[in-house]
């Protein structure tokens, strides 16, 4: 017998990181949290994206508790800074706005 597969999500909707990279501005910050922390893994961000983020001076953070909860703290990229909830609050104060991509 064969399998009928069904898909109920738009194929365009798995590209949040790409969308962010294309529209982020100079000196913006990126905080990866909840399942977003998988974006902190070594090869999650392509070299091309890495280059753009560097040119725009984007700092990338990941929420430490979410990283530890998922057991990936030893695998995260060297470009990423692990931060606490207190640091998260501080970042919201240092930037003009917060935009949640979900």
């Amino acid at each position: 017998m064969s399998v009928l597969h069904t898909i109920n999500k738009s194929p365009f909707s798995f590209t949040i990181l790409k969308s962010f990279v294309s529209v982020c501005g100079m000196n913006d910050g990126l905080l990866l949290l909840e399942d977003g922390v998988f974006g902190a893994l070594d090869n999650a961000i392509t070299n091309d994206e890495q280059l753009i983020l560097k040119q725009k001076n984007i700092k990338i953070y990941a929420l430490s508790t979410d990283v530890i909860a998922r057991g990936i703290e030893k695998k995260i990229s060297k470009h990423i800074t692990l931060i606490s909830y207190d640091d998260f609050v501080q970042l919201t104060l240092e930037h003009q706005n917060v935009h949640s991509w979900f």
Binding site: N8, K9, S10, F12, S13, T15, I16, S19, S22, V23, C24, G25, M26, D28, Q96, N97, V98, H99, S100, W101, F102
Partner: protein
């Protein structure tokens, strides 16, 4: 008056997200807030002509969007590359008073707001 930007990034009908953004926009407009709305990523699919949501017992999202000018919501934007990636041309959009924005104009728009709400 606060400058508020709603960013609507989800397709209509699959979830209530698109409708929620419209409800917030209309409510805020009644309170005379300075509202802008940006459609990007799958949010572009809200803008297409010829929707017929009665087939799935819902109301047409594009019809609701066309009510915006009546409520004074006139700052409407869409992300040009999102539309191009999805094969949607400008003349296929249901709204004609909507402005196309390039990548760098989006970051300028985000930076010029008091509040940004994401849908």
């Amino acid at each position: 008056m606060k400058k508020i930007l709603l960013v609507s990034r989800h397709a209509p009908y699959g979830s209530s997200m698109a409708k929620d953004a419209i409800d917030v926009a209309l409510a805020a407009a009644i309170y005379d807030q300075d509202i802008s709305i940006l459609f990007m990523d799958d949010g572009i699919f809200q803008l297409t002509k010829e929707q017929n949501a009665s087939e799935i017992s819902q109301k047409n999202i594009n019809a609701m969007l066309s009510a915006f000018p009546l409520y004074g919501v006139e700052k409407l934007y869409f992300h040009l590359s999102s539309a191009i990636q999805r094969g949607i041309k400008i003349d296929e959009l249901a709204l004609d008073n909507i402005t196309a924005l390039h990548d760098e104009e989006i970051s300028t728009l985000l930076n010029s707001q008091d509040q940004v709400l994401s849908f």
